[in-house]
Subunit: 280 residues, 2 copies
């Protein structure tokens, strides 16, 4: 039976009562709900590390800018609870008022891997993410927390946040789950029309091609340019970026002389999609 | 016997070994060293709340701006350790590299009570304070932490930080200790020449007069102006501010219709002094 908890105090009490915050291990899987198989794979990963799995469901307003899809973001708590049956022990689904009570005035900013890429297009995004993730980690006090590699830059930002604040938690990145045509699972895929969905399936194919070209030619700037052109040709409405970067720091690299990652963000109509994969 | 610990990992290991992080209570007193009787009073206050008292000694570089007294700030670890004998159980004195390892890129900003006053003159101060205090609280995981009312705005900023991040710690403010002439104890008093020391002793007297006038007249702006003029007349080199504010939020108030605090910052030569007291 999953416990459904809406307050930080309630969460702490439940963890204390479980004995797992003292003697056992706790894993946290932070989500914004609208759960799909990708999230469930994070929960299953969490279960490998801990006898008690907490899934948080919170559509965090501070990581959305005005004009983004905060209001439209799919919310389906009842369906989410059913999907988590047998997987999670506690669902922590606080209100915005619980997470940001009146007078809330604290913001956590992370530089380093947060610079560029998503930040160029969503400048407030990572401060919102870092603040809410820190608050969730402080509230749940987990031994491990699991994040999807789908949001690869976010994963690195969270790792830096945890290192810098010396939060006593291990951050685990879990691999991207994909549809049959390779489209990365995302709650935002639900926005896509049938025609858009077909175009969306091209993103991962073009990135895979780019990886092969990068390994063959080594001219990373030419590969980024070619992939950008291929995305436009495939019918995407906008290509925010395609970038091959250092896989640990996201710094620019001139050659594949270290672990590298290709990351991309595109739009189809109003829907923004991101994807990434290892290059070397 | 005081334990002297220089790393976060060492601190956590010592707290775990003591059993006090599990079964008993831990109190933290964050300081920048150069300890005086004011600090010792904070340690004694901490002892009332906890069987294990940790005093941190760290001159935090991120709360000093270029041109401020970071390099000159008095450092006296051996003397500090002696003063803490019998008072503290653990002295946590990390290096700057331990607190800010290479690539450190996380900053915590607090609005609310951090706006104005000190921030008008030391714009980076409270972000430095909030970041290091959060890190110290996360490292030590205390049940209570004690801060002096001498740094009254800082105390309110720390309380807001702790509330906003829901850190599981109670922040306790301890009253200002004063010399015979009423000068608030401060490590920076050591900078004062004999002549400057005589002038410094006027600060608290002028603030006390201002409190009496505020209670009598109720014209807070006139009282602030008169106190500012009196400080210039007393020989201070500069008056950064004298302000009567809401004691909880530090917002401007027009009348003494709620708990209020008078706060002042002045300079004598290169030495900057602050003081504050309750008005109503």
């Amino acid at each position: 039976m999953i416990q459904h908890i809406a307050t930080v105090a309630g969460l702490r009490a439940a963890l204390a009562a479980s004995g797992h915050d003292r003697d056992g291990r706790v894993a946290l899987v932070p989500t914004m709900g609208a759960l799909h198989e990708g999230h469930i794979s994070l929960v299953n990963e969490a279960r490998k590390h801990s006898g008690l799995v907490v899934v948080s469901i919170f559509v965090n307003p501070t990581q959305f800018a005005v004009g983004e899809d905060f209001d439209a973001y799919p919310r389906s708590l009842d369906a989410d609870m059913k999907k988590l049956a047998g997987g999670a022990d506690i669902v922590f689904a606080p209100s915005a008022r619980e997470m940001y009570p009146g007078g809330h005035a604290t913001t956590i900013s992370v530089g380093g891997p947060a610079a560029g890429l998503e930040t160029d297009f969503r400048p407030h995004f990572f401060a919102g993410v870092a603040t809410v993730v820190a608050k969730l980690l402080i509230a749940a006090g987990p031994d491990v927390a699991v994040f999807g590699e789908k949001d690869y830059q976010q994963l690195l930002v969270v790792k830096r946040l945890v290192r810098d604040l010396a939060l006593p938690v291990t951050i685990i990145g879990a691999p991207i789950l994909r549809e049959a045509d390779g489209l990365a699972l995302s709650s935002r895929n639900a926005y896509l029309s049938t025609g858009e969905r077909r175009i969306a399936g091209r993103l991962n194919v073009i990135l895979k091609d780019a990886v092969a070209q990068a390994r063959a030619s080594g001219d990373l700037r030419a590969v980024e340019a070619a992939a950008t052109e291929a995305l436009w040709q495939a019918g995407f409405s906008h290509v925010d970026y395609v970038a091959i970067r250092d896989a640990q720091t996201l710094e620019h690299i001139a050659a594949l002389d270290r672990p590298a990652r290709i990351l991309a963000a595109v739009k189809i109509g109003k829907t923004r999609l991101i994807d990434n994969m290892a290059v070397a």
